[in-house]
Every structure is written in structure tokens, then in C-alpha cells.
């Protein structure tokens, strides 16, 4: 579902490559953590998968698309198959919860009756059924992240990318978000999550891909965050 082949990425303004000859594959339906210290290249890797950046070397494949060769015009096809959530939620402050979720469908031209049907469904899935008409500022951080996840998932992407989704949340709330991502993973969606959070990685015992200075230094199928690093 996700494949990087000898991918390197150097930003023009920095001397050290952000990613250095990375080869990783994530199967369909898998749940994988992407860990590593700050600056190790986790966000860069996710941005390559979304075609926000182009690799300097190597090839990136996501959901049968050769991402690095994708024409400008076909980028939307990729992004409609890949949902993403971030540490900072990125909700639209002037829209209600359900409008925020509906927005993701409206901008790709989905018909109104579809939107009216699937938005409540996905809000129920993320546990926000009673809060559809709240504004984002009337929600807790955990609830806001649920809205963001609902928005990322509402178009049923094949892949869900999460860049430190629990970075702004305390432990208990983080745990709930993880349960939600697990639920989404059980629907068959491939999930790749970048994180610093030892406790979460250790408690989930899922696949762990560890980056250090842009290189893959560990890839374990039921890993922990690791000690001493």
C-alpha cells in the first residue's frame, strides 16, 4: 500500500539530507508507527507520501500510484485516497463540527445527499454524534482531534497518515484517540502514525519503524519505543 524505494530527500536550505536512502514497505491494512527523535525525518516522509514534497532520489508508491511521477493534475487522485491528521487539528473555526467534516466532501464535489448520509455516520464512528452542531472552540482538544480524524476518514481513504496526532493531548485522551485509530485500522484502512510518544508505542505493540538522522535504524513487527535512545 505504501512503498519507498531508496528514497532520499534533501532540502535546499539544509546540508544534511532529511531522508537518506530509505526503503520501507507498509502492507494494506497494516498499522505502523514511525518513530525517531526530533528532526529525524518523520514529517518529511509523510509529506512525500502526500506529494507535498518530491523526493530528491528514489521512488514513492502509495495505493498503486507512483507518487513521485504523478502529474500535477492527478495529485488530487492521490490525496483522495489518503487521509491525514496533524498535531494541530487544522479545523475551520467558522464552521460547525459537521460542516468541517462535510467540507472534505464538498471540495471534492460529492453530491449533497451523499454528504448528508455519511457525515452523521462518521461522526458516530468517532464518538461525536451529539456534538455535530458545536463550533470547534466549544470542544476539548481530544474532541477536536476526533473531528479532524472524522474529516480525514469521511471519504474512506485507503491510507490514513497521522503526524503526532496525540502531540497536544494528555495521556488518557491520547489513549482514546489511539483506540479510535485502531478502530479505523480495523475497517481495513492502512494507518501510518509518526509519534514521539513512548507510552503509546509501548502499549500498542504494533510495527515500529524507527528513523535516525534520516535513515531507517529499526523495523520491528511488534516493537516498543526502545530504551536508551
Amino acid at each position: 500500500m505504501i512503498r519507498l524505494e531508496h528514497v532520499s530527500k534533501s532540502y535546499r536550505t539544509s546540508t544534511r539530507p532529511a531522508l537518506d536512502d530509505v526503503t520501507v514497505e507498509v502492507e494494506k491494512g497494516e498499522f505502523a508507527f514511525l518513530i525517531g527523535p526530533s528532526g529525524s525525518g518523520k514529517s518529511t516522509l509523510l509529506r512525500l507520501l502526500l506529494r507535498e514534497e518530491l523526493p530528491s532520489k528514489g521512488d514513492v508508491y502509495v495505493a498503486d500510484l507512483n507518487v513521485s511521477k504523478l502529474s500535477q493534475r492527478r495529485i488530487p487522485q492521490l490525496r483522495q485516497r489518503v487521509g491525514c491528521v496533524f498535531q494541530d487539528f487544522r479545523l475551520l473555526g467558522n464552521k460547525t463540527v459537521s460542516e468541517n467534516v462535510a467540507f472534505a466532501l464538498e471540495v471534492i464535489g460529492k453530491p449533497r445527499h451523499t454528504i448528508r448520509k455519511v457525515v452523521p455516520e462518521v461522526l458516530e464512528l468517532v464518538g461525536l454524534e451529539g456534538k455535530a452542531d458545536r463550533m470547534p472552540h466549544e470542544l476539548s482538544g481530544g474532541e477536536q482531534q476526533r473531528v479532524a480524524i472524522a474529516r480525514a476518514f469521511v471519504n474512506r481513504p485507503l491510507v490514513l497518515l497521522a503526524d503526532e496526532p496525540t502531540g497536544n493531548l494528555d495521556r488518557d485522551i491520547s489513549h482514546e484517540i489511539m483506540l479510535l485509530l485502531e478502530r479505523i485500522n480495523r475497517t481495513g484502512t492502512t494507518v501510518l502514525m509518526a509519534t514521539h510518544d513512548h507510552a503509546i508505542v509501548d502499549s500498542m505493540r504494533r510495527r515500529v519503524v524507527e528513523l535516525h538522522l534520516g535513515q531507517v535504524v529499526r523495523d520491528e513487527s511488534r516493537g516498543v519505543y526502545g530504551v536508551g535512545r
Binding site: I75, L78, R79, F103, N155
Partner: protein
Amino acid sequence: MRASFVFGEVATGLRRNVTMTVAMILTTAISLGLLGGGLLVVRTIDRMEQDYYQRVETVVYLSADISANDPNCTSSTCATLRGQLESTPGVQSVIFESRQAAFARFQRIFQGQPELLQLARPEALPASLRVQLADPARFPSIAKAFTGRPGVDRVTDQGEYLRQLFRALNGLRNATFVVALIQALAALLLISNTIQLSAFTRRTEVGVMRLTGASRWYTQLPFLLEAVVAGVVGAVLAIVGLVIGKVAFVDRVLAGVFEAAIVPRLGYADIFSVAPILIVVGAVVAALTGYLTLRLYVRI
């Protein structure tokens, strides 16, 4: 693509930066208003040129003696002049206008100004031979041949006045276009700025749109439409401005000139025939500005 959704986004965008939106619309309106004014001057000039050069006459004014004593051009001096003019090559027709006829015409032209009429007496007006030339350029040879001849007071060419008038009108038109152009530049920069501002205030939206796989077209459309709405609203204001300008200014100040048929009357039809041009120019230029701005300054 859902129209209601797109228009909702456009309305939000315009409302969010009200002051910029108003500035953008007003500048656009002034620019387009000036363009429209220039176009109306052009139309007026064209129409004047058409019917003026047809009506242009070379006038041979006759001496005071003939003016006073020969109301039918029967004296030998007058009849000879007339005959010679008629047989000059390039002359289409020659018409005698007596002092009485000249006075009657004067009364007709200035019937709107009775105070002028009270002052005027027929004795002030000379009789004349009015010569229609096939080619107005032949005037100098006629003037040369007849100036100073017995019974001739002077030979004038209305065409010369006309050329001066048209030079002045063309200057007016050019000045209007130059100001319109400068104003248009200001309008373009404002439109461009407003779009950048709008894109900045909506960076979260745009980011979400990009990442959820909205097409470039769909992402840009609200911004382009904002610009186009400003262009069209500006054009409509400009048209309203032209109508008000006609009623409140042109019709009053130039009433006498219209009355005398010196300048053709400016009708509503004229304004409404330049209106579509203004709307199209407003919309297209705004859209192009928007498109280029998005290309150059905004990552979408």
C-alpha cells in the same frame, strides 16, 4: 461541483475582508467609469466626424454692400461670383444665403437663449455663398482664388474649426484613457492584494482543500470568483456612475450645445452600448489578475 457551496465560500471571503473588498470595488469602478467615459467620447467623436464632414461648407462671405442691397443675388457682382464658383472643379453645389436667411438660421440655433436673440439684429450678419466641396481638401485653392475679389469679404472653411474641435476632443479622450489606465493599475494591484490577503486569511481552508484532494480548479475558483464579483460589481457601479454623470452633468452643462446640434446628444442607448464592454473588461481583467496572483504568490 456544487454552486451553492462555491458561492457560499465566495461570500464569506468577500465579507471577511470588507474594507479591502470595498476599496477594490471602488477603484475598479472608477477605472471602468473612466474607460466608459473615454469610450463615450470616442463614440461622440465618430458620430460628429461622420455627419460634420458631410455638412462642412466653405463659406464665401459677401461684402456689406451686397449683404444690404442684394437679397436674391441678382446683382452682377454676386451672380458672377456664383457662376464662377459653380464652374470651379470640385465644387458640388453653391447656395446663396441672404442676410434675412442668415438671421433666421441664427434665431433657430439660439432659440434657447432669448437674451442673445434680443441683442442680435439682421444688420450684423453678412450674406454668403455656401459652397459644398466634393473633397474638403480643395479648400485652399478656392480660398486663394476668391479672397480679395470684388464683393467678397472673406472666405472661411468650417473644416478648420472642426479639425481644432476634434483635436481638442481627441485630447480629452486620450487624457481620459491615460487616467483610466493609471486607475486600472491601482485597481489591479488592489485586486491582487485582496486575493493574497484572502488566501492568507483562508490558509487553513486552502490547506485542507489541498490535502483532501480538491482539484486545483476547485481550490482556486472561490478566489477567482471573488475577483470577478469585484470586477462585475465595479462595472455596474461604473455604469450607474455614467448614467448619473449624464443626467447631472452632461445634460445640464452641454444643454445649449446639444440644442444647437453642435455635439450629438448623449443618449442612454450610448451608455448601455458601452455597458457590456465594461462588464466584460471588468470580469476578464479581474479574473486574469486573480489567476496570475494565485500562480505567482499563492501556493494552492
